[in-house]
Amino acid sequence: MNFDPRFSGRKFTSVGTRPIRPDGIDKVTGRARYGADFNMAGQLVGRVLRSPHAHARIVKIDISKAEKLAGVKAVVTAADLPDLTDGDAAMYDVLDNCMARTKALYDGHAVAAVAAIDARTARQALKLIEIEYELLPHVTDVDEAAKHTAPLINDAIFTEGLEEKPVKPSNVTKRSQFGHGDVHQGFGHADFIVERSFKTEQTHQGYIEPHACVANFSSDGTADLWVCTQGHFVYRQHCAQLLGMEASKLRVTSSEIGGGFGGKTHVWAEPVALALSRKAGRPVKLVMTRDEVFRASGPTSATSIDVKIGARKDGTITAAEATLRYSCGPYAGSWAEIGAMTAFACYKLDNVKTVGYEVLVNRPKTAAYRAPSAPMAAFAVESAVDELAKKIGMDPVDFRIRNAAQEGTRSSYGPVYGPIGIGPTLEAVKSHPHMKAPLGKNQGRGMACGFWFNFGGQTCTDLNIGMDGSVSLAVGTVDVGGSRASLSLVAAEELGIDYSQVKAIVADTSSLGYNDMTDGSRGTFSSSMATISAARNAIKILRERAAQMWDIAVDDVVWEKGHAIAKGEKHGNLGKLSLKEIAVESGKTGGPIAGHSELVADGAGVSFATHICDIEVDPETGAARVIRYTVVQDAGKAVHPTYVEGQYQGGAAQGIGWALNEEYIYGKDGRLQNAGFLDYRIPVCSDLPMIDTQILEIPNPNHPYGVRGVGETSIVPPLAAIANAVSNAAGVRMTHIPMSPPRILAAIEAEREWSK
């Protein structure tokens, strides 16, 4: 059946309300089962041995002593995970990251693993594995690694995307470029130009739940995997490919997930757990420690960005240019490319050029982190935009409004925008009471904008109507923050029934067709589209059954407010049949009633946000404290507004942590020095104020309800909003994130020295 995804402008009954989530009781009573909360009979404990070296050739691994230790049931190395990737370079990198093959490429890189009867035995066994390393020179800084004198991390990599084919290998894996117009000419028309360089340090998603799974490989070649993941179908594909299995023989169940933010979008230890289980012939539970999470999973890129923006006296930007260098860890990525696409996406520009360079470093493999790559680019661009507004003497909000992209604008990354929300978020900020609130001593206010694409993708959903008229909704996108509630609302809306009649679950990989993962803010966008489609398919069957019950033609039956209604005067005495009444008779009218849908949810609507932030800086210590924070963001349509607010607040909080204190700190030896929550400082409750939110709803024309993604955009503006606020509070322009107290104090002291 053809599904029409276009926005219909309907009035809503359920969508937009704020009911309690269906998985709530289990989560407040401790009954919800996360990755580490599942056990199997005969289960072993898996543990991973990791390289203490930033860069080393693995000369020899001797596992014989470990294998002989009583209680050890399996020891695996790269030899137990042979390369079955068949030329798929991206999957080869995933494999090599799961278990180092010829070289350890970062501190924390997995080199072997054991399965034993208990944790103590497993720990002892790791100590008995003997590895001979040949130490190699390492490089962890993005700018250092990009130099042609830097130690090479992979001598088979030659920079892609250069006009002339390079003859020497490089740590720069790719150059990418976006833009239009002629920036040289554009800068020629500028009365004012701001040009600055910025750096941001590497951060981690910081989910509170470490990676955890239980793998059970059976002797008949089938396997089960229980795992916390943002995409169990993707994990199934990865694991099946790396283990040489048919996908359908591996059933993956996604546990409740204790946070992901992009960090649980590809496999880390899961293929290792399966390999251990296969070798031991028993189930294996593998849970990372926090130290392992920091050293070997996640992080986002560290960056180095040069920005140049020019404008006329009247405040029109004439040209904008950026060069962005993003670290990828030791494997090729496309992180700078995304940064280059998003950098100027908020603005209407005749002349724009961005160039991205992907840089290999001896750090963990970069993973997506909430609107990956966009916050760093926004930090650089929005800092420069603020400075330019000041130079011109314009209010920073007015300056942005003047240059904001709108419907019909050619985006800096290429396509022309449809209806978008950057202008409205700026107008909302301009009139927000926060902008007029008085500031105290040592306080400053900053604002900044942010952009994210949002994704759609492959989606499959089942909607089953029970014989009692209740509805079970099985979706394949993992619920990371309340999507079962929003999807239940959507099902209730479309069927015209009460929210309480719907129960949504996340189905395992054997119960439903393939779904892309919950990333790119696609969970509610895609699965709501599939849910609407499934519900409409179910309604078609409900109408047929009602027609049968009434013994009239199906074309004479319409569906309204949860009921089949016979239309036309000839059926005037038939009244209406509720969903429940039809369901009760379903056994006699053709059997179970269900709606299924499989689709590619295309047309995700881009999203914009503008944030306002007040900061107080202690001029004697450099401590910066967020006093007030406001998020204004376009949701398209907020299906469950409370959880939309939650996404806005959570993204802002992560951005605040990133801006002020979070960073990976490496020693000269290339080892990570702060692999724990004590010294990797994510914000605590007392660090933050309430985070006010304002939801704007500019409908996405490509979704029946107008939904856009909401999950990611909120992390994009904070770095810049806070930098701009610090600039206004302390009179110093911070160009290095995080703006930790030593950095702010040093900047204040330098400013004092300079003005003497």
Binding site: R18, I20, R21, D23, G24, I25, K27, V28, T29, G30, R31, A32, R33, Y34, A36, D37, R120, Q205, G206, Y207, I208, E209, P210, E256, I257, G258, G259, G260, F261, V287, T289, R290, V480, G481, G482, T642, Y643, E645, G646, Q647, Q649, G650, A652, A653, Q654, G676, F677, L678, I682, P683, V684, C685, S686, L688, M690, I691
Partner: protein, 158 residues
């Protein structure tokens, strides 16, 4: 390594177990007793996801040995509701959507219960500092603080 026999009280029930001398109470609760409501987010007392109440004191169960529970009273998230009746904090966390992924929720509820037991009428600042030992990465804490404020009002009225 000799096992330690422990007799203790968990959520009001007498419980006996045998544990290793270096085994944490968190591991005992989760792996021996099936009480998986307390979570291990760090294992070093920095995230509060494993919070429990030990003899009326809020502690991280990852920083307590299983052997130390001998003769003491342990309260975990599993004992917070009375049968079908949720504790007001649990109810308010649901109503305010004070959880997204929910992994930190048991720890926050236990910490908030301890906070309100010692200070039934806390200011926002007291709540924020009182809960600073519990990390949440999803919510930005806003809705958590509001849920605790609201629960405090309900509990005072009760």
């Amino acid at each position: 390594m000799a096992g330690v026999a422990v007799s203790t009280t968990i959520n009001g029930d007498a419980v006996e177990y045998l544990c290793q001398p270096d085994e944490t109470l968190l591991d005992v609760l989760r792996d021996r007793l099936g009480l998986t409501g307390a979570k291990e987010g760090c294992g070093t007392g920095d995230c509060g996801a494993c919070s429990i109440i030990l003899d009326d004191r809020l502690v991280c169960s990852c920083l307590v040995l299983g052997a130390e529970a001998e003769g003491r009273r342990v309260e975990t998230i599993e004992g917070m509701a009375h049968g079908d009746t949720l504790h007001p904090l649990q109810q308010k966390f649901l109503e305010h959507a004070a959880l997204q992924c929910g992994i930190c929720t048991p720890g926050f509820l236990i910490a908030a219960k301890d906070l309100l037991a010692k200070n039934p009428d806390p200011t926002e600042e007291e709540i924020r500092f009182g809960l600073a030992g519990n990390l949440c990465r999803c919510t930005g804490y806003d809705k958590i603080v509001r849920a605790v404020q609201d629960a405090a009002i309900v509990m005072k009225g009760a």
